[in-house]
Symmetry: none
Subunit: 122 residues, 2 copies
């Protein structure tokens, strides 16, 4: 699954391999697999594991990140602020902390439980 992704990486590998004038056999030899297997990587037929990718990056003398180029998600941590809380969650917490009345806080928790309970049954 997620084939397009795989293929992309394979092409990137090939690109860097050619850039250093290495044949499939050479590179494959360095990382200890058959060149036919390397072909599969480059063509996106087989999945590439992290450890494999690291070996390849070392053989090509480039950082892993170079092989991941174009793969990194753009809007990664867009709405994540400190402590791994989303803005909305932070707002919630900030408001909640302003409620100094214990009973009201308890009540709110109960209300949430109720809502969650109802939503669960749908």
């Amino acid at each position: 699954m997620v084939k397009g992704f795989r293929k992309n990486i394979g092409e990137t590998i090939k690109k860097y391999r050619l850039a250093t004038h290495m044949s499939q056999m050479e590179l494959a030899g360095k990382i200890g697999i058959s060149y036919q297997q390397l072909q599969k990587y480059e063509k996106g037929i087989n999945n590439i594991s992290i450890s494999r990718l690291k070996q390849i990056s070392e053989a090509l003398k480039i950082p892993i990140s170079s092989l991941l180029e174009g793969q990194e998600t753009e809007r990664v941590a867009e709405d994540i602020s400190e402590y791994g809380l989303s803005k909305e969650e932070k707002t919630l917490l900030d408001l909640f902390r302003k409620i100094d009345n214990k009973d009201i806080r308890r009540g709110l928790i109960l209300e949430l439980k109720g809502i969650v309970e109802i939503l669960k049954k749908k």
Copy 2:
């Protein structure tokens, strides 16, 4: 092969998962695999492909690089998971996160604002 590497990544995944208060089931659900399979990733039993890692990083809302760089990211995750929430606050957040309906979440925030407003006037 190259087991140690794999395991490290699994542990990093786990740390980030816990940091965002996600259960194995939740995260596994988001990326479309069984939670048992996720366990294997976290325990380093199964290899993790690049595409899979990307899915995971997206589900956790962190860049892939965070999962790749062993040590450095470990500490970050540690910090995240240890932010000082009271038990009550944690409960609140956990419940809030179970509400997948955006409007309901919004409504709750508004309600809190109202409550805070009223309390202020006393």
